[in-house]
Symmetry: C2
Subunit: 186 residues, 2 copies
DNA sequence: TCTAAACTGGTACATCCGTCCCACTTTTTG
DNA sequence: CAAAAAGTGGGACGGATGTACCAGTTTAGA
């Protein structure tokens, strides 16, 4: 036991510092939006000196990109773990700003080609999730239809804080019928 | 001729200055995103002194909110003038960043209650446009369905720069059938 | 063991930002 | 016509930010 028990080797300590910084960046980003992502804030939240942020990430843009990637990975993992039908409950219970941060980054990617590939990974992951739910290939029209509807209702809920009823009914087994509005009632 | 010909009365000059500043703010916002909206940049683009921005708008937030409102008005007017079916061509031809700026502001509104009502005006306007296109009430399931699909495909195109084919087929008259994937082919 | 590389952390710098202040002119009001 | 109000423009202030620098330490490879 020549080392403190909570850190193995120095390069392991280094990579742990990296992820600590990344996690801090993600939290700040989701809590306060883009302006909250400053080197100083990240360092303080991670309990590390300011210079650590510039040492592990060349740019603020770099930090942003990697935080985005990190967030996408996390969110996609959570989503696949809980399954699509649990999405409405998750939206209702987990922090709204957390979800919002992800979508802010997604839209932000429209201006930065570097981020675009990450944005595509996010939407591809969501589409795959829907395909899995329907047991259909991703390119199938019905998969696409449910995907786009989900996409829109999700974001609309986050931004405008509208009720989730529509989304809920879409994801119940009866959605098979609901997504075919062939019945011209009213 | 006691006045220069290009300005009538002083309060007319004042309101014109207001709108000039607002227009400059909208342009900067759509060209460079949020960080581009600074008092100095707005003043410079409008050809006015820096203090004019703080004179006509108490806050940067005020300026942002009014610019957002201005942009929504503009865009909604253009959209209703050209009609929904022209949307894909418009998306393909007009500046992508311009459209993107609007959606950035829309998502940004999720964090600022003051902006939320403007965001709702935007989405309500879009929904009304779709309802008009289909000659159905806004609450009709089919209206909602086309609206959400449009919403998602539009934003996906802007952010990820994916082709617009899907959107195009949705808005052709044949969309009546395309939006009912009742045919379980494949 | 010795040297080059990686890592650490404190600090300094130049820049840009929002906002305030103040002198000055023009317009409206009583 | 006088005085109050609104409009105008130049400049300054305090604060925050990204990033560079550098002295010191620790680790890895010869």
């Amino acid at each position: 036991m020549t080392r403190p028990p909570h850190q193995r080797s120095p390069q392991q300590r280094a990579t742990q510092r990296r992820t600590t910084l990344l996690q801090a960046a993600v939290e700040l980003l989701t809590e306060g939006g883009f302006p909250a992502l400053t080197h100083r804030a990240v360092a303080q939240r991670a309990g590390l000196p300011l210079a650590a942020t510039t040492y592990y990430f060349t740019n603020r843009d770099e930090l942003l990109a990697q935080a985005f990637s990190h967030l996408v990975d996390q969110e996609l993992a959570t989503l696949t773990h809980h399954g699509l039908p649990a999405l409405p409950d998750q939206l209702a219970h987990t922090d709204r700003l957390h979800q919002l941060g992800l979508w802010e980054l997604y839209v932000h990617a429209g201006r930065h080609p570097r981020l675009q590939e990450i944005a595509r990974r996010w939407s591809d992951g969501c589409l795959a999730l829907v395909a899995d739910h329907l047991a259909l290939p991703p390119h199938h029209p019905r998969t696409r239809l449910l995907y786009t509807t989900l996409y829109a209702l999700w974001l609309e809920h986050l931004v405008e804080q509208r009720p989730l009823d529509e989304l809920r009914t879409l994801l119940t087994p009866a959605a098979e019928n609901a997504s075919h509005p062939a019945d011209p009632a009213t």
